[in-house]
Amino acid sequence: MIPENLRYSKEHEWVKVDGNIATIGITSFAQEQLGDIVFIELPEVETQVKAMQDFGVAESIKTVSTLYSPVSGKIVEINSELAESPGTVNASPYAEGWMIKVELSNPSEVNSLLDAKQYQELISTTSE
């Protein structure tokens, strides 16, 4: 259910690390909480992000949700598909619904993120 090969933040983002590049999105739990997503606001490529700072916004019909970066670095790619089809995040949060790719400035930050088991525990105890 919760992909084993990813790391997670307490703000319900996931991180996939490939060498020095981290791909970031929101978890299935997060997209479910949001409901039908109508808009994803992402920053431009080259923008610097810092761990635990906001990088964008996910809007659903009933709510606005801030997106927090789990890691620090420079944005090297954003998922431009989401402008046309924000619903992709609902349909495929861990794959096609990825949001940004960050060139890590401090790779050791990944170690302090939650693993799948810890994230599972987090959402089990989070009341709706």
């Binding site: 808009f39 809007e59 659903s60 009933k62 606005v64």
Partner: protein
């Protein structure tokens, strides 16, 4: 500890996500807000509105003299802005209970029945309204019986197919009734006798031609003991019309498209019905009522603020509390958003906002549509001021059955 309506278990059974609202645990959605919204606009949807407050007002004693109106009527005329004397039996009207300063205690439905009046209050305001009514009753010594009818649980059936479903279930030609009268459905009659068992014979359910979606629809005042059966009966018989249970999420997007007000957003203790755009529900010539003087002043001297509809471009969704400016640099704040969403039917962001109306007249217009600026996070987004409602049901359109 939040209250639960009698349909709580049904919502869980249907997989609804529950949220606290006005002191109650209510379903916000079953499948998705967008789907439920579309069901009401194109077919028919069913809502549990058992959180609403149903209040009965009865004459404690018959009128003393034949010509004096029974106390219930005089009392309601005194505490509400609309003209209650216009109600025939089985008719409902929208109205507002104002305080002395012309602000709003609650917006209400008032219905006349042969033996009583019914007042429907918002869930969050039920206790406040009961206390207010009792206070006013006692202050003027009206001899009345005011009670909170907690044995009644309301449901709402809304959409272009609602009338057809009601006709099928209750055997009454509601389409032909141009006066939109409510009626008492005596359930359990032969028309219903099908498998699974119909509602217990003799059960009386008041059905009004009212709603909060901008579609044709009906609201049921069901005895709690029969609410679950009624809910399931409607879902079963409504399957032919592809009925969907709908939650508060869709209830909000629907009412907002229809520019219907929500207490706590468009109404509060300091906001009058005239400011909210409901001056038509204020009948100055009906006689004395609480707030009349201040409301008359507003009408004659101009309103402190006025509610306007806004449309925004792309996916810039306005949310309650966002500030509104006359200029793109944010120098001149003229108001704030009371409610906003992404309209599923129109496919664009919409919102309602109280603006200082004199400033609006001066705000630069683009192509004759006044323009203001809504601060969304750090951006000042241009918004067009448009006439409301944003959505109006198409009377010529055919209800869909697929």
């Amino acid at each position: 500890m939040n209250k639960k309506t009698i349909l709580f278990s049904e919502h869980l059974r249907l997989g609804a996500r529950m949220v606290p609202f006005g002191g109650w645990e209510m379903p916000v959605q079953y499948s998705s807000i967008t789907e439920e919204h579309a069901a009401v606009r194109t077919r028919v949807g069913l809502f549990d509105i058992g959180h609403m407050g149903v209040i009965e007002i009865k004459n404690y004693k018959p009128a003393a003299a034949p010509k004096s109106p029974a106390p219930a009527l005089s009392f309601l005329q005194y505490v509400t802005t609309n003209d209650v004397s216009r109600l025939e039996n089985y008719q409902f009207q929208y109205t507002v209970a104002c305080n002395e300063t012309g602000g709003t205690v609650d917006d209400l439905l008032v219905g006349k029945l042969p033996d009583k009046y019914i007042v429907v209050a918002n869930a969050a305001n039920t206790e406040k309204v009961l206390a207010w009514l009792e206070k006013q009753r006692a202050a003027k010594n009206f001899e009345l019986y005011i009670r909170h009818a907690t044995e009644i649980s309301m449901l709402s059936l809304q959409g272009p197919n609602a009338a057809a479903l009601i006709e099928k279930i209750a055997g009454r030609n509601v389409t032909a009734d141009k006066k939109n009268r409510s009626f008492v459905w005596v359930a359990g009659s032969p028309v219903l006798a099908k498998d699974p068992p119909g509602i217990a014979a003799g059960c009386e359910i008041l059905i009004s031609r009212t709603g909060y979606t901008g579609e044709d629809g009906f609201e049921f005042f069901a005895p709690k003991d029969f609410a679950v059966e009624l809910w399931n009966r409607l879902l079963l018989d409504g399957a032919a019309y592809k009925i969907k249970p709908c939650g508060l999420g869709a209830r909000d997007t629907l009412r907002l498209e229809a520019a219907l007000p929500l207490y706590g957003h468009e109404y509060d203790d300091d906001t009058s019905p005239i400011e909210a755009g409901y001056g038509w529900a204020v009948k100055f010539d009906k006689g004395e009522f609480i707030g009349r003087d201040r409301l008359l002043q507003q009408k004659e001297n101009g309103l402190p603020k006025k509610l306007f509809g806004l449309e925004l471009p792309d996916k810039n969704i306005p949310r309650a509390g966002y500030a509104v400016y006359a200029d793109i640099t944010g120098q001149s704040k003229i108001g704030q958003i009371t409610s906003g969403t992404f309209s599923p039917t129109l496919g664009k962001p919409i919102g309602l906002a109280y603006l200082q109306s004199s400033d609006l007249i001066n705000a630069p217009a683009v192509g004759n549509i006044p323009r203001v600026y809504v601060k969304i996070r750090e951006k000042f987004v241009p918004a067009s001021v448009v006439s409301t409602p944003f959505y109006k049901k198409n009377r010529a359109s055919t209800a869909q059955t697929n």
